[in-house]
Each structure stands twice: as C-alpha cells, then as structure tokens.
C-alpha cells in the first residue's frame, strides 16, 4: 500500500534548490492542492524571475515564464483569455514586492481571480544575496554589508498588511513552512487560495515566510530557527483579509 507519494502535478525531475531551501516544500504543497482539487488539466502556472525561475520545469501543468515582477499581469492575460483556466503565480519578494509592486497592487485592486504564492525569504537568492524589499532592519546582505540601515534604504514592506487596505483583494494570509504545524497551516491556506479561484471569489495571495540558508549564511536548521526568532515577529502569521468570511460574520 502506498502511503506517501509524489503529487502528480509535481514533475519527477531533480530540483536545483539549495539544501535547506523551503521552495521544495512550497512546490509540493501547491502540487498537492492541484491534485486534491483535480485541476491540473486546466491549471496554468506563471514562474517569476528569481530562484524559482525554473518552476516551469517542476510542475506538470502548463507553465509560462514571466519577466521580473510581471507575473500578475501575465496571469491577468491568461485568466482573461479563458476564465475557466486556473491561474497561479509563484513569486519571490524581489519579484513581487519590488520590481513588480505595481502589478501586484493593481491585480489585487482589480480582484483579479488568480492565486499568488508569495515566497518571502527577505533576500534576493538567485543573484547571490542582495537586500530585498522585505530584508529586516539591520539584516546583513551583499548590498547592505553593514546591515539594512532604515535611514538610508527605508523599511521592509509588509505585503499582506498593505494589500489588506485594498477593497479589491479577496483573501490574504501569511504562513510559514519552518515546522510541521506551520507547514500544515500553509497547506490549508494554499488550498483555500486555489479554492477561492475555483469558486470565482477573486484575488487570493498566500505569503509564505521562507528560508534561504545559503544567502543568510546559516545552516538549514539555524535558518528555520531564524524564521521563528526574527522573521515571524516582524511578519506575524495569520489571515489579513478574508472577504467571504467577513460576509459570513
């Protein structure tokens, strides 16, 4: 009897991610949800620019590679082309909250019926560890070698809190994948974000607080601990907006 298997939506190929990186976990959660909802045949994923740029090779559904930050605009086109498509983007913090901020905010404002998986690991991974829009105050990176100086380069952007001010957005939740309990919650949130789209409810974004041991200069276990000690206090987990639940109240 098979008790644990690779989700069908997850391609059977080696991934390029570093040891201890949580992209693999989140890819798997997305794939499990696609399987459980039975939507693989009509799902189109949009990969970003960044560490998950090659996500197009890791999912068995149809995939598009977008320009840096533009995934929500590309997703808008795909969704408007055929509303029966289930369209998700998978974006990092530089992609979604820096170069693609306009696309993020406006797709939320339009309540575009798409699902966004937002990986917040407080760093630009692919280019070798530069300061991200979500890097913490004081965080040392390649481009903030003396620690992020908020006087000189401003404060991190809290995406869920910011988007929750928009009338358009349907569902915003921040989760983490640094322990079993958090992974289970993340799965629930990702499933809801896809179910919302299937049910025509609109813009659903799940921010996943993630690790980057390589560019944080930590071991994988240190990185998971750092999420608890540093990241989550700055980026509190929870539901920031759930319009359907508000209506039910």
């Amino acid at each position: 009897m098979v008790v644990f298997d690779k989700p069908h939506a997850l391609a059977d190929v080696p991934m390029h991610y570093c040891p201890g990186c949580t992209h693999g976990i989140v890819h798997r959660l997305v794939a499990e949800v696609i399987d459980e909802l039975g939507i693989e045949g009509r799902t189109i994923g949009i990969a970003p620019v960044g560490c998950s740029v090659m996500a197009y090779d890791y999912f068995n559904c149809d995939m598009i590679e977008a320009a840096h930050g533009r995934a929500p605009a590309v997703a808008t086109g795909v969704k408007r082309s055929d509303p029966n498509n289930i369209v998700f983007t998978y974006q990092g913090d530089g992609d979604l909250a820096s170069i693609g901020m306009a696309e993020t905010v406006h797709s939320a404002a339009r309540n575009e019926n798409i699902t966004i998986i937002f990986i917040n690991n407080a760093i630009y991974g692919m280019t070798g560890g530069q300061m991200a829009p979500t890097s913490l105050p004081g965080q040392v990176t390649q481009t903030s070698p003396y620690g992020r100086d908020v006087e000189a380069c401003g404060f991190p952007i809290k995406v869920c809190e910011m988007l929750s001010q928009l009338d358009g957005a349907e569902y915003l939740e921040r989760v983490a994948v640094n322990n079993v309990k958090n992974v289970k919650n993340a799965k629930k949130a990702i499933k809801k974000a896809f179910e919302n789209q299937v049910n025509g409810k609109g813009f659903s974004l799940v921010e996943v607080v993630s690790s980057c041991p390589t560019n944080w200069g930590m071991t994988p276990s240190q990185a998971l601990k750092w999420i608890d000690e540093k990241m989550i206090p700055y980026y509190p987990l929870g539901v920031y907006k759930d319009r359907s639940a508000e209506k039910e109240d």
Partner: protein, 357 residues
Amino acid sequence: MNKLADKVLMKGNEAIAEAAIIAGCRHYFGYPITPQTEVAAYMAKRMPKIGGTFLQAESEIAAINMVYGVAATGKRVMTSSSSPGISLKGEGISYMAGADLPALIVNVQRGGPGLGGIQPSQSDYFQATKGGAHGDFHMIVLAPDSVQEMAELTVKGFDLADKYRMTTMILADGTMGQMMEPVSLDFEVGEKVEKPWAVTGTKMERKHNIVNSLFLKPEELEKTNFERYEKYSYIEENEALCEEYMMEDAEICVTAFGIAARVAKNAINEARNQGIKVGLLRPITLWPFPKKQFAAAADKVKQFISVELSMGQMIEDVRLATECKVPVTLCNRAGGMIPSPEQVLEAIIKANNGGDK
C-alpha cells in the same frame, strides 16, 4: 466574416480597432497616451458588446505583459501606444520575441526623445526596425499611409504574426491616427493557424507546454537565435512590400513611408508637371525592408531623396539597400513637424539640377 458593403468615415486609430475586431482579436490591453487613445476608447466601447476583453492596465509594462499572457494561450491580442509608451513595452516585446509569441503592437508615433511632444513623427524607425529592446530579434513592421491601410495592415499584421509566431508592429504616426478618411472594411482574414505550443491547459491529455525565453545553456540559446534568424531570412525573402509610384522612367527616386509618402506624392505630381522624371518607392514593410526594389532602382536613378519625419533613420536602410551606388540625400522635419510638398519639391528640383554629390 464581417462584410460592410459601403465605406465608412473613420479616424485611423478607429480603423485599426475595428479591423482588429474583424481579424478576430478579442483582447485589448492599453494605457492612455496621446495620440493613440482613440484605439483604446473604441475598444472600451466595442469589446464588452462582443464578449471581448478591454482592460486599461496600470502601466504600459503591465499592458504588454497581459498581451504576453493572452498570446501564450494562443488567442489574438493587441496593444497600442505612442512612442514613450512603446519604450516601456520594450521589455515585454523582447520577451515575446524570445518566447516566439504572436501579437499586434501599434505605435502611433509622436516626436521624441524623452516625453518629446504629441505631434506626428517617424523617429521610432530605428526602435521598430532594429529590434527595439535587448537581444537579437526583429518585429515585422508595417507602415500604413492611409486610413484604409491602417485597417488592412492591421488584419495583415495579425495574419503575419500568427503565420510566423512573432510580433507585428503597425508603425503609424499622429497624422495617420487622427485623420479621417473613408474606409472599406470588406476584407478577407487569413486562415486560422494551429497553435499546438499554446498554454491552454493539458486537459491531462498531453505533456505540459512551457512558454519561456530562458535558456541558461549558451549552446541552446544560440540555437534558438540561429533558428529565429532562419525564419527572419525567409520573411525577408517573401514578405517585403513596396509601392512603386511613377518609377518606370524615373531618374530621381523619392523614398518615404506613412504620412511622408503622402506629402512626397504631392511634390512628385508637381515635379512631373514641370517635366522632371521623378518617382516614389514607398516601403510598406519597414522590416523586412524591400531591399530588392531599392537595389533595382539604384541601377536606374541618379539620386535618392529620403523624406522623413525624423533626423534621418530610414535613410540608413536606403543606403544599405542601394549600396551607395548613387547619392542618397535627406529631406526632413523633426520633433513633430511635417515636411511640406514645397520642401520636397525643392529637394527634387535641386536633385534634377545636378544635386548633391
């Protein structure tokens, strides 16, 4: 197909929009910018009535990426803008070239550089014909000289885009966009092209399709470039279009596209009245540039005069195509100004009197 027996009076920008709908385009994304806004306004009215999508994007960048998304699903899609907006779309245009996606992009040019002005210009010729963004690529570039051609080349543009799996640009200018002329919308749309590469959902019946412009292995990326340029060679050989006007006995060849060609024809008619043997070569495709017609003319005429609404951009292609066998001079205005027929006539008379050597 939609057949209207009678001619209708339309602005060039409106003719493009209606022709796009006739060509089967049901998705339009744009951002307001003068002097092309009538395209968006027309689409905003028409698309909701025919089950299409009109969406005013948050930026030119978002608009071209929405185009990228629809094009990836295999449907006909377009955007329109004017010069500064086209610069913003450059990123998306390059990605579409890298991913071999078909779409129609309309540039109703205005004067530049920078914010420039809002009057007609042809100063985006280099941008349009030499690629227009990073990387090795071309767009097919069509240059209408009447409202009728604005419509016809829009339909042709969609057909060529699908046939060759690449973007086509209508390179118009503020005059073409704004002026009104009678238009017949009675034309044929090319046959539907199958797009097995499109992301339409696997339906669990096929391996997943990937629309992508990333090739990290240089050998693979090089291969895509060489393959794309083989296609370009074929297009250069087979799709170049050029109108010849009074060229049979011409000793002087004026060359111009778009509104400049309209002005040039007036000047040529007057010069002919004065007994000067002058004709016009009007490239309709700016890329591929109609090299053969120019090479042939170079063996017959004693001078070319390139009439442009720019500081002289097409003139470089004229010199290349004619291998500088005879002098090529520039007759131009820039920054939103249009050469007058008198200015062009003066240049023709000067050439007839021995011209510039």
